[in-house]
């Protein structure tokens, strides 16, 4: 056993070594000085959702400035973040987009370490650093990222605003006066903000509407965002037991199962992050609208601004005021939206722009 098992595997390791020795690094030519790379959230790039649309944005941005299509990598788990970013840097990429709220630590550290590389983070605000520009692990956040980390821009969205608009729509079209928001997990601030906005928006239309809030899991991230069957089952029970007839999903791919549940039960669904009428056509029959953050556009514009040299470092907020959020077109379901509701939606959007509408409670982003 000993004499046979060991050389077997040792030999294979050797072969890899030989391959490494005879390899030369592949060279590419582009007419832009930017080599763009994107690290998605753990799991998969094809989520019909968040990662995928940031990627679409990065591709468009790359095309706009004449750079090569962005290279991508999908980290296997959270311990990969730092390593994968380093791989990008080592391979000569100088504009790196990282796409997940929990990649902020690794991105901040990498930005400090590689001042000549530009970093764009999605959903990673607030950037929390100490006064010397290092990642602040005690969450004092005394340092100013604009001056200390001029090569790192974090794009973040006021998710409570599209959530608020979605809540208004939901509260207007419900017949049972019961609507629900299904979140993936309650420790992701953007998810919580969507739902808090949704609750306030529904209350603004009709305080008698009951808003059920359910989270798919409180501990398991893969179940929370990567298990459509769990979402389907949860959605079905909300419909049958709580008589909810509008379901708002904030759970990524798990949430696509929530949309399926709504369609199967002939009730309405509201998508999240992107226009899910386009991204998840299976739900088209029952999808009324989606609470959108204009992810793809934000990433594309950021890349263009990096190229122009006009990018602002630090936390960059996207909200109603700069048209960074919104709700998707109704795609043939315009008939459900009364003129009165349309007027209220427009008014609310204007109120958000001038700050007269509050879309999130005091502890915004915290369950």
């Amino acid at each position: 056993m000993l004499t046979l098992g060991v050389p077997r595997v040792a030999a294979m390791t050797l072969v890899l070594l030989v391959l490494a020795a005879c390899g030369g690094s592949p060279t590419t030519t582009t007419n832009s000085k930017w080599k763009i790379a994107l690290m998605s959230a753990t799991g998969t790039l094809q989520d019909h959702n968040f990662s995928q649309y940031s990627w679409e944005g990065a591709k468009k941005g790359a095309a706009d400035i004449g750079a090569k299509d962005p290279a991508t990598v999908v980290p296997v788990d959270s311990t990969d973040y730092a390593k994968d970013i380093q791989t990008f840097v080592d391979s000569g990429y100088n504009l790196i987009v990282t796409v997940a709220f929990d990649e902020s630590g690794a991105t901040t550290t990498a930005a400090k370490k590689n001042p000549n590389v530009k970093f764009i983070g999605v959903d990673q605000s607030p950037i929390c650093i100490d006064t010397s520009g290092n990642l602040d692990t005690t969450f004092g956040c005394k340092g100013d990222p604009k001056t200390l980390l001029p090569n790192y821009t974090s794009l973040y969205f006021q998710e409570d605003q599209p959530g608020y608009l979605a809540g208004m729509v939901a509260a207007s079209i419900t017949k049972t006066k019961h609507i629900a928001a299904v979140g993936g997990i309650n420790v992701v601030p953007p998810v919580v903000r969507y739902i808090q906005g949704f609750q306030l928006g529904a209350q603004a239309i009709d305080p008698s509407v009951k808003v059920d809030v359910a989270y798919v899991s409180t501990s398991d991230f893969t179940k929370a965002f990567n298990d459509p069957v769990a979402g389907k089952v949860l959605g079905s029970q909300l419909i049958s037991q709580n008589h909810d007839d509008v379901l708002f999903q904030v759970a990524g791919k798990t949430g696509n199962g929530v949309l399926d549940a709504a369609c199967a039960a002939n009730v309405y669904a509201i998508g999240v992050d992107v226009d899910q009428y386009l991204s998840y056509p299976n739900a088209d029959p029952c999808l009324v609208t989606s609470a959108e953050k204009h992810l793809s556009n934000a990433v594309e514009q950021a890349i263009k601004k990096v190229n122009d040299g006009t990018i602002a470092p630090g936390d960059t907020l996207f909200n109603a005021a700069n048209n960074g959020i919104g709700i998707s077109p109704f795609h043939g379901k315009e008939g459900m939206i009364s003129a009165a509701l349309q007027a209220k939606l427009t008014a609310a959007l204007n109120g958000m722009k001038n700050g007269s509408v509050t879309t999130c409670p005091a502890k915004c982003g915290q369950p």
Binding site: A180, D212, K232, V233, Q237, Q241, D260, A264
Partner: protein
Amino acid sequence: MDSFLHTINGIPVLGIVFQFVEYFLNALPFMSRVAVELAVPICLAALCGVMCERSGVVNIGLEGIMLTAAFTGWFAEAVITGIMGPGTPTPVFGLTVPLVLALLAAIIAGMLLSLLHAWLSISVRADQIIAGAIINIAAFGMTGYLNTLLATVSLPVTSNFTALTIPSAVSNIPLVGWLIDALFGQGPIGILMVIIVVVFQIFLFRSRWGLRTRAVGEHPRAAETVGIDVIRTRYRNVVLSGALAALGGAYLSIEATNGFQAGMTQGRGFIGLAAMIVGRWTPLGAFGAALLFAASQAISQTISISPPTGELGTLLDHVPTQFFDALPYLITIVVLAGLIGRSIAPAADGRPYQRESAS
């Protein structure tokens, strides 16, 4: 009645128990449906395990077979829809031609993977746990790889099987109505699972095939001497069992939901393996174990979406929500360790068989 309930619910400590029972009974009709939906894929995986291991072949590749079938089912449906159009779904079950062909494709994919497992385990006489592990890793890698590549390809919209609507006249029958609704208010694969459990249980213990299977799994040498072809019996069982796990996988991507996600089995194959052991390698036992697990999940889900009120609600507020996440797993351990105890596998489970003449 109400005042009676009010009185007994007010009793300290015991009152909480009564409140829980009341809450539980109120939620039962909804919960039972959820429990069966969650149990279907787990149970089908466990049945695959039972069929394999009863004939003496260990199969830990359930997860991989399910994942492959889930991918194949979804992908085949998309491709076939692209070729011949979506077709009109039938009013019951929402059957379309692409959907039925996709289910067949998923089953064939599962059986092919099982054939590989059978070949490795029976003919090559390789370690069966390694063979199973190979299937799991290969399936995870291959489906994930293809899924990532397909991100750039636009595929036609697919449809999925729809659940049977049980008429309210039936589901309102006192005492058993909710049970009928839960067991049969499912799509075709869900209903098929209930039928398979019963048929499989009867066949395993009452038919010639069952007798042979058990003989081959318990004492292959003796079985051979009375004229049973051990190798053939094992091949047949392992390949056939692939269809069961494949049904479980197809349930995920073309019945419960409508699409494939990388790694969407989420450990259900391994839970199925556990259900098989807790159910002591019998079809009914495996069904019971899967249902127990799924029911505990349904309870924690119910508590989270429709929390109880009153004293019970106040009490549960003090329990960390993560506890309810862990509840199904805790219950499984407690039931196994406390009630079922030692589960004894078929005696020849995992041992490759070599004909005496050949050795």
